[in-house]
């Protein structure tokens, strides 16, 4: 790979480095002469602040990669923050507990059931993977549905018992971390079902959920107080503080969630069949379907993941801001989409990845940090965000190439939906010739 290609492939990281450099140079100094921007405290703060957006953007990346969009994540996050705050501060069968307990029970039961079946299938098939490629289905003893169903029911019963035991008193940290994401997961599952089974366009289905989830959040919180304050130690368990503490004094807890999530899902996208299918569906849904990919399952799973991560983000929001409020995530979905797009993931699907999203999230975080350090109006921040979105997307190679070509007056071959960046070897007329050649074979 020549240096230019290397540079153009990695320019996102150079952009990140550039922002860091600007931050460091423009940063005010403490009285002792230390650079505030570069201080450990400041950088970890940035990482803490981007965690909520980052979690949501991770789920959003997967959805966008397979050619969808999830507008509901902001509202789902807000709704989750209300549920979480309510579980922490109120005892008894509050609306939050009434909705959360069944959601957790069902979600965990299904998750365990499917996981068990998945593992048994893998065990059963694992031996002959090398022998033959053809997946000859032998109905082995493991393959029955009985054991997974039993395991699922057992897990569901255990969760139900645990959650119900938490209800009379206020919920503990673990219970909240279990119930809230499960509730959000259920909302994501509704999104997925509407899109996959109902045949709704993702934009519409998730727009409806965006509005509805805000309503659910407000109803749950009660009309009078939209904001539910959480004071650990007084009206909530002291242990909840752990979610905003520094781990070993090194990294903020929310950042751990964010980093683990992004690494985990990065690995899933890279190394698993699920990841392969996500890219295949985003690349060409028809070809994927005709290649035997279970498109509906994968799409459904993506929306479920997106919901789940929005739920986790809701818990972290409560931990960070000590409150739950229904409109906590207003505009969050757009921030997440912006981060994904800056990260180079195509809104058409099929191209991009979580590494880019990670950088995109950091660029936003660093930008607002720099401007805050300079005491610049937050409205300027919004303007800058807009400029960065436009700028980075323009710089992404294929767009820039098109612009330059137009300025130079070079006619472009009709561009099919492929990344112009990687096909250096593509003969200039290949696309044209092949499309024309098919003309002949059209009906005469």
């Amino acid at each position: 790979m020549n240096p230019r290609r290397l540079f153009s492939r990695t320019k996102l990281y150079w952009g990140l480095a550039l922002i860091c450099l600007i931050g460091a140079l423009a940063s005010p100094h403490t009285s002792s002469g230390a650079n505030i921007f570069l201080s450990y405290q400041n950088l970890t703060d940035v990482l803490r602040q981007v965690s909520v957006t980052g979690l949501v953007a991770t789920g959003m990346t997967i959805v966008i990669l397979l050619g969808g969009i999830d507008l509901s994540v902001g509202s789902v996050m807000g709704c989750s923050s209300v549920i979480c705050a309510m579980l922490l501060t109120k005892s008894g069968w509050t609306p939050a507990a009434i909705m959360g307990a069944p959601a957790a029970t069902i979600s965990i039961a299904l998750a365990v059931g499917f996981l068990a079946q998945f593992v048994f299938n893998g065990l059963e098939r694992g031996r002959d993977v090398d022998a033959g490629r053809r997946r000859e289905i032998v109905l082995g003893p493991w393959r029955g549905y009985r054991i997974p169903v039993l395991l699922g029911l057992a897990a569901g019963a255990a969760v139900a018992a645990y959650v119900v035991s938490q209800v009379p008193a206020k919920f503990g940290v673990f219970a909240v971390l279990l119930v809230t994401p499960c509730f959000a997961l259920a909302l994501g599952a509704i999104n997925g079902a509407l899109i996959v089974q109902g045949g709704l366009q993702p934009f519409i289905a998730t727009l409806a959920m965006m509005v509805s989830a805000l309503g659910i959040g407000r109803l749950t919180g009660g009309q009078d107080f939209a904001v539910i304050p959480v004071y650990t130690g007084t009206n909530a368990t002291e242990a909840f503080e752990v979610l905003r503490s520094m781990v070993w004094g090194l990294i903020p807890m929310p950042s751990i969630f964010f980093l683990v999530t992004i690494v985990l899902f990065g690995a899933i996208l890279r190394f698993t069949t699920f990841g392969r299918y996500v890219y295949a569906i985003g690349g060409n849904v028809e070809a994927a379907k005709l290649s035997g990919v279970k498109v509906k399952q994968v799409q459904f799973a993506a929306y479920v993941i997106s919901g789940l991560l929005a739920g986790v983000a809701g818990v972290l929001f409560v931990a960070q801001y000590r409150q739950g409020k229904p409109d906590a995530g207003a505009g969050l979905e757009l921030d997440a989409i912006a981060a994904v797009v800056i990260g180079g993931t195509s809104l058409m699907g099929g191209r991009g990845g979580l590494a880019g999203t990670f950088v995109g999230v950091l660029i936003f975080g660093l930008l607002s940090d720099i401007l805050q350090l300079q005491n610049i109006d937050s409205n300027v921040q919004l303007l800058m965000k807009g400029l960065i979105i436009v700028g980075t997307v323009l710089v992404q190679e294929q767009n820039l190439g098109q612009l330059l070509a137009r300025w130079r007056g070079v006619p472009l071959a009709p561009q099919p939906a492929l990344p112009g960046s990687v096909e250096a070897a593509r003969p200039p007329n290949a696309a044209k010739a092949s499309t024309v050649r098919e003309d002949i074979h059209e009906k005469t």
Partner: protein, 548 residues
């Protein structure tokens, strides 16, 4: 000149928008439809696409007031010729003279200005607009240069439709009209452009018999009024009934131009077929054992714009190991739908029984079909077969990713080995398996599609137009490959529009006509003439009885 008496009163409703100098209101244009002098002359026109000749030195002429049929097999060059005349293709060799003057259209608008209009098979109407709005789309009369004068549009459209004797409310939404009525709206649109030459590509392909009658009446009326009409059709009976003259194209060359009188439909058919394909002959493989795939009473209903429509009626056949069953028929006769129904990819309601290796199966999705060892190579490999932006390796491995994984974790090494193995076995010409698949040639892309299915070790391979859009050399390689696969015991069903290819590949040929299976011909019975006769609507009813 009797028709002119009918035509003349139509002009009463004349409007500044249309008919001011409409050639087809022949009463005042002074041109007699019977002059017989060519209004359009085409001499030695050639056109090739990327090295493949579509038209070779074609001569063609058209007289005012005549209905000229253009016939030929799929790929004979009919569309190409029409598109050249309509200004769609602008780079061609040869000369076109319009009313004696040499012309070279710069584009479709240019041709329309010169009075040449084309009605494509897929109609170019905006479904949500009214008929009147469609007729004047882009040329709306304005009040004070700003506001669309809707009343004038409706009035003008009404006048126009009345002149054509078409009973359509100009204010009705096009989506609510039948296909035949939409076709008539297209004709009205073309005439509102003062078309002297009207070309229609397969105008009757979607029409019912009564709709055809209406269309024919309008066409005859126009011809009598001096409009020259070119139309293509697969229905030979229609050609005989409607045309004054017929031109037959074969392999891009003109084979015949003659007045319709004295031409039998058989004569037209034998002029159309007779394409030959230089190729190796295949030794017939001894087929043995029970059927690997058997299909009984396969029927498919699809939702069309006007409700449910049956596109397949009771298709039944058996396919043995090592056998290649060809499916012949015209486009739209249900060939692709058979394959998609078997593969579980058809959009619609499917009935009938399918058994694989004697076991009845219910294939509801492509995923199930893959699991059962059925593979489908689609007709449109770019849109439906390949992930164009991905590598050869990823494309080859896609259907097998699940089988090569362990606990959902991809087996990268196994995927690469599979792709390399397939590239070698099918001799795909690529730099390495990491090459982006869109940079390969058509033939090699097709091999990738076939390869990705072979990697799943299927029992039944369904091929839809396996050599579409690939060059001759690559075609030969694909044929050899198909023969090899059959010799290895795969059951193969192949659909092809190219008659010689169909005959070359197939052990037996199933012929489809308008969603019905008209015959299964053995190798000995299958000739181009026999297949064409069984596939052509209108003719097949007469001969189906004879063919059994």
């Amino acid at each position: 000149m009797t028709m002119q008496a009918d035509v003349a009163p139509m002009h009463d409703a004349g409007n500044a928008l249309v008919g001011s100098n409409a050639a087809w209101s022949a009463g005042e244009s002074g041109r007699s439809p019977e002059t017989g002098s060519p209004i359009l002359e085409v001499s030695r026109v050639s056109k090739s696409f990327g090295g493949i000749a579509a038209l070779v030195d074609v001569d063609f002429d058209l007289r005012a007031g005549e209905v000229h049929a253009l016939v030929g097999e799929n790929g004979a060059g009919k569309s190409t010729l029409m598109k050249i005349l309509a200004g769609v293709h602008v780079d061609y060799d040869g000369v076109i003279r319009l009313a004696g003057a040499q012309v070279r259209f710069a584009g479709v608008q240019d041709a329309e200005r010169a009075g040449v209009a084309i009605i494509h098979q897929e109609l170019d109407l905006v479904p949500e607009l009214s008929a009147a709005d469609n007729i004047f789309l882009g040329r709306e009369p304005l009040i004070a240069g700003t506001i669309v004068d809707r009343r004038r549009i409706v009035r003008a459209a009404e006048a126009l439709l009345r002149r054509l004797g078409i009973a359509i409310d100009p204010q009705s939404r096009v989506a609510d009209l039948r296909v035949g009525e939409q076709q008539l709206v297209e004709i009205a649109k073309a005439l509102s452009l003062d078309a002297r030459i009207l070309m229609m590509d397969e105008p009757t392909s979607a029409l019912s018999t009564s709709e055809c009658e209406t269309l024919f009446k309008v066409v005859r009326q126009l011809a009598a009024a001096g409009v020259a009409i070119i139309f293509t059709s697969h229905r030979i009976d229609e050609v005989v009934a409607l045309a004054n003259r017929v031109t037959v194209l074969r392999d891009g060359r003109r084979v015949l131009t003659a007045p319709i009188e004295g031409l039998s439909s058989n004569a037209i058919i034998s002029a159309m077929v007779g394409r030959t394909l230089v190729s190796t002959h295949r030794e017939p493989v001894a087929v043995e054992g029970g059927p690997v795939l058997s299909v009984r009473n396969l029927a498919l209903d699809m939702v069309g714009p006007r409700g449910w429509r049956r596109v397949l009626h009771g298709v039944s056949f058996d396919l043995r190991r090592g056998e290649i069953l060809g499916i012949g028929g015209l486009l739209g006769s249900g060939r692709t739908e058979i394959l998609e129904s078997i593969f579980g990819a058809a959009r619609g309601w499917r009935t009938g029984e399918i058994a694989i290796d004697g076991e009845p199966v219910a294939i509801g999705s492509p995923a199930e079909a893959c699991r059962l060892g059925v593979a489908l190579v689609t007709e449109d490999r770019k849109a439906r077969g390949l992930l164009l932006a991905s590598t050869v390796r990823d494309n080859m491995a896609l259907p097998s990713v699940g089988a090569l994984s362990r606990f959902g974790v991809r087996g990268f090494a196994r995927e690469a080995a599979l792709a390399e193995d397939m590239v070698e076995r099918l001799s795909v010409r690529c730099n390495d398996v990491d090459q982006i698949v869109s940079t390969l040639s058509g033939g090699n892309q097709q091999k990738v599609v076939i390869g990705k299915w072979l990697a799943t070790e299927p029992r039944v391979l369904l091929l839809d137009e396996p050599t579409r859009g690939i060059d001759v050399g690559a075609k030969q390689e694909i044929y050899q490959l198909v023969f090899q696969l059959a010799a290895h015991g795969l059951g193969i069903v192949t659909v092809s529009s190219e008659m010689p290819e169909l005959l070359l590949l197939s052990d037996r040929v199933l012929v489809m006509c308008e969603g019905r299976q008209t015959a299964i011909l053995s190798r000995a019975e299958a000739t181009q003439e026999a297949i064409m006769r069984l596939a052509a609507p209108g003719l097949s009813e007469r001969t189906a009885g004879a063919a059994g």
